[in-house]
Symmetry: C3
Subunit: 292 residues, 3 copies
């Protein structure tokens, strides 16, 4: 694999191969890659989970990690992303994990650099490593994707997680329903209130209300969102015995999910974070092995 | 040892055991711990010395260190400290060094996370690793704490160093006197001017005037503070032959201490910094060995 | 070598010895230094290239690198550079790479610290590691410096690159001509327009127009600068067959250099970046070996 950019560019075989490899890492822990590799994580948008997860994955593979502070680089002097990437290529970096606010930022890079690019999130585009960790978590639970019913609830239009997951889950045989306020459906088909059928899904995946993107323009309060679209304790009680709750985090306690559900028996939220390290190890390994 | 939070939770045996181990590191240098450990330093308040000291200690023990920029994390998206810590737990971090502006920030974490917490300073609460390095420096000099006379001069009420040290030094048999302006004594008993007896102490420990906490509200100038409460060259001349001068740094030259005394023969200020690495190695080792 | 501060302090023998060692690294790649060394990169001004280049060089030598965020350190509490450096000395750091806005910032440090200082750029003073990588790139191309004609075009007065290079190149036998607007010549002799002879040089080295230093005060537009002083496609066509184009980067596309020339056959811009890693490895090696 040369780059890891979008779930759309992944074949089903590639997905399963990465999941198998991630499973291996989850069982047997760290494994230093043969050969010396240098990577860097270029996060032009704030992140804890994704960046930290990559940082841990990189160290478990024994990689050298070059620190990059986006707020203190030549980007401040007006340097383009292309020129920044070419700089990393010139100084001998093998792979870059990039999160950037421009959807499809990587299009201008591909074919023009020998550095491998791993997409850590592109604007309102995709978040393919998150998708892979969600797949890992679902497969770990149910052993398959075929015939699973999955509700994804939240800001569908702006969520790269929703888009990446809808793509992969549908391809793998699951049935995905979007739930959201009308204003947030974008170009997608969505329902706008919870019903019994949805609560009987196998997976309820909640998305973060991105207050910072909507500030001042929200037509509902946090409480109203929680009542209408959030996973309340009431609703969680109606879920199937073996159903699970997922959330990419960071979460707003009491908004998209009731505080008491975050660490409940059905919740896989912290398992998702743990699994994120394994899938990122698998992706880095596939990319770096592909460079020899 | 599971966590390292406050000198109050340390028994005398634990203190001496850590000091002995630190002495060993001071003599024999680096030592890679058996086993792979991942740690991170979460400093939500500015720091050079404490953070750098931990960073060096961690590398001398061969640990993997995950970088954390508090100004660029999901804390910006309103994430609580608890959720941030649970994230680090999920991705496989073994120990976190945390400095946070809330006194006792760790209370809500203990018992709810399997990550080991090392307190790098909690608001106006404690700074227990600083206390341990001060103890190390004093023991290195005098071989004992019994019967030593120690003056701690400065902003007692706001100083976590004063509190941690008063606790430990008294327990170990030293006699501690606080010197400060009336406004800064807090709930402590303190004297408000230098006298001959105090200048005949074995240790004069000066605290930094925290201009950034008092800005605009100080009832005295820097010069007036220096004259009344600072260690002037004049006063230093009256100190005992074998007495030492300590300061946790960063120091304000010419305020709490005369510029000429910082690197004088009696000063142990830079030795304290050096010793900080050894005691932090000892603490990290005790914590991480305790995880097996 | 104890410190690496200015090209003026380097003998011709030292320059050639470092270039030879860098050439060795360019051929044979990474090489872990015997012994454990701890270094830190103190960049008080923004940088991508120089800082990243050092970070890569340090890892290729197997050094431990202590992260330093200038915006989040005790410098915020008013600590002097001297006190920051003494802190790093106390905690056991062997060498510091420092970029600072004060010209000659290192003068107050030399002789007062046992830490080795490597100058990563001092205000409008020098940028000696850049100079060394430029020398490396030129020697790689022409095998010698004797008799080469070199044009350096741009903001001569404010450029530390121009100053460092003029010094070394002249000493090594090359003939250097400065080209710039009258306002930017400082104390140097310079010509103010391109002529045929200059276009027949062996090396055309362009400097970045530092918009952030001149903002609002420039008497010409970007387009006018490009037309009068920049390397246009037109001018590049008149260059000698074997001549090369250099630029320390980051570059302003379409200002000091036409966009189409950045990656043209004559351009050595990205080779310069690559070579930067090798010369910095050579410098670090010379400094650290000198500490035993």
């Amino acid at each position: 694999m040369e780059h890891f950019l979008s779930t759309k560019k992944l074949s089903t075989e590639e997905i399963f191969s990465l999941l198998d490899r991630a499973e291996n890492f989850s069982k047997y822990g760290s494994r230093e890659l043969p050969g010396k590799y240098i990577v860097s994580n270029l996060f032009f948008e704030p992140s804890t989970r994704t960046k930290m997860s990559f940082e841990v994955a990189e160290r478990k593979l024994g990689l050298d990690v070059i620190p990059f502070e986006s707020g203190f680089s030549s980007a401040l002097k007006g340097e383009t992303l292309y020129d920044t990437v070419k700089t990393f290529e010139a100084i001998g970096v093998d792979a870059l994990v990039i999160r950037h606010s421009d959807e499809g930022y990587y299009e201008e890079l591909i074919g023009r650099t020998s550095v491998s690019i791993i997409n850590g999130g592109d604007g309102s585009g995709q978040h393919p490593t998150q998708s892979l960790l969600d797949l890992f978590t679902i497969r770990e639970e149910f052993g398959t994707f075929e015939g699973l019913n999955i509700v994804i609830a939240g800001d569908i239009a702006h969520s790269r997680v929703a888009k990446s997951n809808a793509d992969t889950l549908t391809r793998l045989g699951a049935h995905v329903t979007f739930l959201c306020p009308k204003e947030w459906k974008g170009n997608f088909e969505a329902v706008h209130e919870w019903n019994v059928e949805m609560l009987q899904s196998d997976v309820v995946m909640l998305l973060r209300v991105q207050h910072e993107r909507h500030d001042g323009k929200l037509t509902f309060t946090k409480e109203a969102y929680h009542d209408q679209y959030g996973l309340t304790v009431e609703r969680a009680k109606k879920m199937k015995e073996n159903a699970i709750i997922m959330h990419p985090a960071p979460f707003n306690r009491g908004v998209e999910i009731d505080e008491d559900l975050i660490e409940c028996r059905k919740s896989r939220i912290f398992n998702q974070m743990e699994n994120g390290v394994y899938v990122r190890m698998a992706i880095l390994e596939a990319i770096l092995n592909g460079r020899n």
